[in-house]
Each structure stands twice: as C-alpha cells, then as structure tokens.
Amino acid sequence: MRNLILFLTRNYYFILFLALETFSVFLIIQNNHFQRAHFLNSSNAITGNIYEMASGVTEYFGLKNQNYKLAQENVILRNQLRNSFGTKVNPNVSFKDSIHSKQFIYISAKVVNNSTNRRKNYLTLNMGKNQGITNESGVICGEGIVGIVRDVSDNFSSVMSVLHESARIPVEIKRFNENSILTWNGNDELYGQMERIPSHLEIRKGDTVLTSSYSTIFPEGVMVGTIDSFEKVAGNTFFNVTLKFSTDFSRLKYVTVAKNLMKEEQSNLETNSQK
C-alpha cells in the first residue's frame, strides 16, 4: 500500500496526464456517436450567448445570405411587374375580367455548378421539377441572360449556357429594333456574335442589345450586352457584329428562371398554321 502511494505521488504528473488524455479521447469518441453529450456542445447557454453576441457584429459578413433573400424578393416583385403579363383580350373591348394574364413566372435558383471554359458550357441549378421549373425555360440574372433549361430532374435543372456552340438566341438592337440571332463561337467567354445586321444601320460601339420579342423562351427586353465591334463583310451588305455580354458568366451565383406560361399555346399555333 505504501509503495502504491509512493508510486502514485512520484508519478502523479504522468498519471494526471493519462487521466486527462483518456477523458479527452473518450469525449472525442462520444462526440462521434449520434446522440452526443449535450453539456459539451455549442448549444449550451454560455457558448450560445457568445455566438449570438458575435453574430451581432458579424451580421455584416453575412451579406451573401441577405443577397439571396433579396433575390427571392425580387422574384416576387418581378412576378407582379406589368411586362410579365401578356395581353389576353383586345383592350378596346370592355371586359369584366382583368385585361392582363400572366405570361412569365420567375423562380429564383442557385447555381451549383458552372463552366465557362469549354465549347459547350452548362450550368446546374438547385431547383427542378418539384420547384416548378420546366424544360425550355429561359434563365436570366440581374446582369443579363444566362441560358436555356435543357433538362430537369426532381430537384435540379441543367442549363445550356449562352456560351454554347449551338445556342441561338433571338435578340434585337434596342436603338433600331433590328432583330438578329446571337451565337457564340466557342472562344472568348466575354464576347458573342451577331450576324447579318444590315449595313445601312448606323450602329455604334456601345449600342444596347436586348432579347427580342421573337423569343418564346426569354421575356422581351432582357439585357444581353453591348456592341463591341463590327465589320462589313466583303461584297455584302451586312455587318458581322461582336457583342460584349453584360453577364459575367464566371461569377454566376443566383439566377432567375423565367417560365413562359403561354409558350405551348404559341408554339402549337405556329406549328398548326405552318402545316
């Protein structure tokens, strides 16, 4: 017994170390269990209050989240805008019902995957069928157009970016209401191409290009970009125009999906009359 006490007092340092270390490791292992000890986690009163105090200061650093909420709110407001309502009846005829019916519905989504460095670029959004996104919907963001929904799963959708070799988007030069088709040649993510702009138009560098009303995918008048340069094709009366996108494709975070509610009606009519 005396020897034991002697041993303990002589080696108390090591024994205390072992005891504390064992207890710590025990805590680590217990922490991995599903039901963990509740007295030692960050939801207790002391740590909880300190975190709350700190969050009062760090609120400013959470602006990213705030931006997301604002984007959501924008969608709600955009849904109430006049230009998302198509005219259903001749406004000259008096009619009991409202004269506008909704044409575009906007859904906010987060970009969870994005590429700009390939020739065929796609984005993935965190919203899908369950959130009401359908195929062939236009995708826009605050700065301009983004792409067209190509595939939807239950909770995700795959978007063909404007930066895609086979993307063809009807656009118009705002100043002349001149329609054209926007394409991308697969080289520079900052610039797109527009062909066959009549050379009698006095286009200038910096002219605004918007989505045209010919598109059934995008709402009319969404910003696309500005004219960067143009050249006359030899022996022809057309300009080939290079356009600078207003969208920064490499930095997309939150986008808005525009779903055209009257698209089916319009395309059905068009295919029927062209038979």
Binding site: L16, I28, Q30, S42
Partner: protein, 170 residues
C-alpha cells in the same frame, strides 16, 4: 503572483474568444487553420505547478471544443502539448537554469530559444490534432501538409503576438 493569475486569466479568456470568433472562421483553401490559443500554454510562467499546467490546458482545449463541437479533440491535443512542455523546457534550458521571475518570452530568452520551444510544441499539438481529426492514415500526406502549413501559420501569429505582449512584461 496575484498579478500573474489575473494576467493569465485575461489571456485565457482573450485567446479562447479570439480563436472561436475570429481564427476559426479562417480556412484558406482548407489547409491553413491557425490555432493561436496554444499561446496560452506556451506563455504560462515557469513556476506554474506541473499539474496546474495540465489542468489549465485541459480546460483551455475543452473550451475550444465546446465552441467548435469537436468533442475532446482540442482538449486531447492541448493536454499532450502541456505534458511535453516540461521535458522540452528541460531539454533546451540555458546553462544557468530558469529564474523564478522569468517568463518564456522572446524578450527574455531570444529568438532562437523561443523558436525551438514554440516550434516543437506547436508542431506536436497540430500533428496530434489533425491526425486525430482525420482518424486514418489513408490521406497521410494531405493531412501532413495541413499540419505543416497550419503550424507555420500558428507560429507566425505566435511571434507577432510577442510584440503585443512585450509592453507589459519587464
């Protein structure tokens, strides 16, 4: 003596808060993750009883664990570090030994001494911490890389902090 207790208590609270509120939010590319709170263990006065060093380190680690929800990860690493503090101090003791009034600081023992002292203990702490966290050796080199980078980051902060504490130490 009383002065030392107050000083160290304040240092304890300050370092824990600084760690959990500021440094824990720094995670550069998933590799750099400084743990400046070990500065408390490094700077305990020489005359602190061994058992007290162990206990204080344990509670220091436990406080960090409570905030970071890591069970006893930091407690285990800190206790190991505190345990090795005594042998390391003995190993690198100057010829005339330590004076009761001295503090383990750059000002009193010079850069080389303090670097050896801090580097050994910080690397031990980080090594144990990151490998306990990973809990397997399959990503040995990536974990090892994290240990080295984070240790360098922590040591840099430790040295910077020396200039801050120097004013009220004589």
């Amino acid at each position: 003596m009383i002065n030392d207790v107050i000083k160290n208590t304040i240092r304890f609270l300050f370092l824990v808060l600084f760690q959990v509120l500021i440094l824990n939010n720094i995670q550069l590319s998933g590799y750099l993750n400084p743990f400046l709170y070990v500065l408390f263990i490094l700077m305990l006065p020489f005359q602190t009883p061994d058992w007290l060093v162990l206990l204080l380190s344990f509670f220091l680690g436990l406080s960090i664990d409570m905030f970071a929800d890591t069970g006893g990860l930091h407690a285990a690493s800190s206790v190991l570090m505190a345990f090795l503090r005594q042998p390391v101090l003995k190993l690198i003791a100057p010829r005339e030994g330590y004076d009761v009034n001295q503090q383990p600081t750059v000002q009193q023992f010079g850069f080389g001494w303090f670097f050896t002292y801090a580097a050994i203990l910080v690397v031990v702490h980080h090594f144990f911490l990151f490998f306990m966290e990973a809990f397997h050796l399959s990503e040995f080199f990536s974990t090892f890389f994290r240990v080295i980078l984070s240790s360098l980051f922590t040591l840099t902060l430790v040295f910077i902090s020396q200039f801050f504490f120097s004013k009220h130490k004589t």
